[in-house]
Amino acid sequence: MTSPKPTIEQVNEEAYLLRFGNHINEQTADQILWTTRQLKRLHDIQDLIPSYTTILLTLKTQAEQPHKLIDEIENILNESTEQAAIPLDQRKTVVIPVYYGNEVGPDLQEVAKHCQMTPEEVIQRHSATLYRAYTIGFTPGFSFLGSTPDELHIPRKRTPRHQVPKGSVAIAENQTAVYPSVTPGGWQIIGRTPMELVDWNSEHLGLIATGDSVRFEAISREAFLTQGGKLDGF
């Protein structure tokens, strides 16, 4: 399948925005993942921020031959249109254990009511879907995962919480996420994971990288506590 040719726009002295159309979908995400992997091999690139439909690329301040580098980037973008979908086995899959329960998921009942199903059905649907990490941001290691099944779509909370406990698993609109650290947040919280999502000592920092597949697995309260989960925070 051929994808449209991405465009390249310089946004300041050292940064370039690569745009891959306007549609958020798996095909675009695959193209962005493939391109990011190729760009990482080039010298003189300081930083890359892949997102839903774009990659922001920053060159090192004293990049030696920026024009030559831009030509190489153009070549990669041209090639990216011919790339086939990236099979699942070439993407990392991260399984995240979640204790879904009212004491750590204070919005679970409200979500069930809004979606006209039982809390058990919410849990079943949330954990039966294979998600994709479309981008990372907001705070270090916060992965925006899509897409939740249509019947789980729900708006953000009207008033965000001042403090969302670390590990909280939440949904909003057609996305889901885990809060890797204590931050304010407006998403609907349905459970909590005992897993550490950010490791300052690992090379990639975050357990989840853009392009990875993510699945949630329901665990019991007991297993949650055994794995080091904490119940406080609300």
């Binding site: 726009e9 310089q10 946004v11 300041n12 002295e13 050292e14 940064a15 925005l17 306007n22 958020i24 990011t36 300081q46 930083d47 890359l48 921020i49 892949p50 997102s51 839903y52 439909t53 774009t54 990659i55 922001l56 920053t58 301040t61 004293q62 981008t135 990372i136 941001g137 907001f138 705070t139 270090p140 290691g141 916060f142 925006f144 950010v198 300052w200 990639h204 920092l205 975050g206 990288a209 853009t210």
Partner: protein
């Protein structure tokens, strides 16, 4: 050997050029708010360009030397004194054991840089000593804490001192009100009237200005423009939220965001803005990418020349 911190009331942070390569994981870069002032500091002392310095915002900061060395002050004039005697920025000073270096309050600009021969000795976190308070990362203790009374910040003592100063014509004019802007990102989505308003109005630096960004107050623009799909935010990006008041995103900016952006202030423009205080007035002026790039390369060359004559 070390400087002992005797007073730290406002904000004093260890910074190098920044923490790079981790934006994909959502980490900001940090780094000196006035990058050229930082670069001049290391060049004056013949240091590695990335050697750690202390960025002092506003003043009310004081330290005592435990051993001889050579220091450079660049950036803002915060009414610094050495053993009670006034000293000026943009030059080097010899330091001996027991010397007290103090920063009082802003005379000219807002952020001063203190560099020491060989750089301050701090353990880098993820490849950088830059302190990001919000992320609890970097700095003297690696945990993002600002420098506090009782801290000791180490350096190699040295009896070598060379009197060096930045040539007068290369010292930036911090009273300059024109901040150059490269139109980019969603600039085409803004109306002609928005563009005219943006470049012909004066904007005031609001009280909401910090290392993350400077929120401006003035004629609102782009109120009818909708949010966009979240995308990477470059240095200097000018975000226009729903109230139409521009926010210039600087060193500690978030990595992605969904507000429309009219463009980016240039690195030189960001350096100037970072020296402004709440209540100061500025004008955004349009520049082109080739012009901004040429000016940036010229500035970097000037620093390099001083470094090579110093060698």
């Amino acid at each position: 050997m070390a400087f002992n911190i005797k007073k730290s009331v406002m904000l004093a942070l260890v910074q190098d050029l920044g923490r790079f390569g981790y934006q994909a994981a959502g980490l900001t870069t940090g780094g000196p708010m006035d990058e050229m002032a930082f670069r001049w500091g290391n060049a004056l002392l013949n240091n590695d360009e990335n050697a750690a310095q202390i960025e002092i915002t506003f003043g009310l900061f004081s330290l005592e030397a435990q051993a001889p060395t050579s220091i450079a002050l660049t950036g803002a004039d915060l009414g610094a004194t050495l053993n009670g005697q006034s000293i000026l920025p943009w030059q080097t000073y010899a330091i001996k054991e027991g010397d007290i270096l103090s920063f009082h309050q802003p005379v000219w600009g807002l952020r001063a840089y203190l560099s020491v021969k060989g750089g301050f000795l701090c353990q880098p976190t993820l490849g950088s000593t830059s302190t990001v308070v919000r992320e609890h990362l970097g700095g003297l203790h690696g945990n993002g804490a600002k420098l506090a009374v009782g801290d000791s910040i180490a350096y190699e003592s040295s009896n070598e001192h060379r009197q060096m100063r930045v040539p007068r014509h290369h010292i930036p004019d911090y009273s300059q009100q024109d901040i150059p802007v490269i139109l980019s990102y969603q600039s085409a989505d803004f109306s002609t009237t928005d563009h005219e308003t943006f470049f012909s109005s004066r904007y005031r630096v609001s009280n909401h200005c910090d290392r993350m960004g400077y929120r401006m107050e003035g004629a609102p623009i782009g109120k009818e423009i909708r949010g966009i799909t979240s995308e990477g935010i470059a240095y200097g990006a000018i975000q226009i939220p729903q109230d139409g008041q521009p926010i210039v995103l600087l060193n500690d900016r978030q990595t992605i965001g969904g507000y429309p952006k009219i463009g980016c202030v240039t690195r030189a423009g960001g350096d100037l803005l970072a020296q402004r205080k709440p209540g100061d007035m500025i004008n955004f002026v349009s520049t082109s990418i080739p012009q901004a790039t040429t000016e940036r390369l010229q500035q970097l060359d000037q620093v390099k020349q001083l470094f090579s004559t110093n060698h």
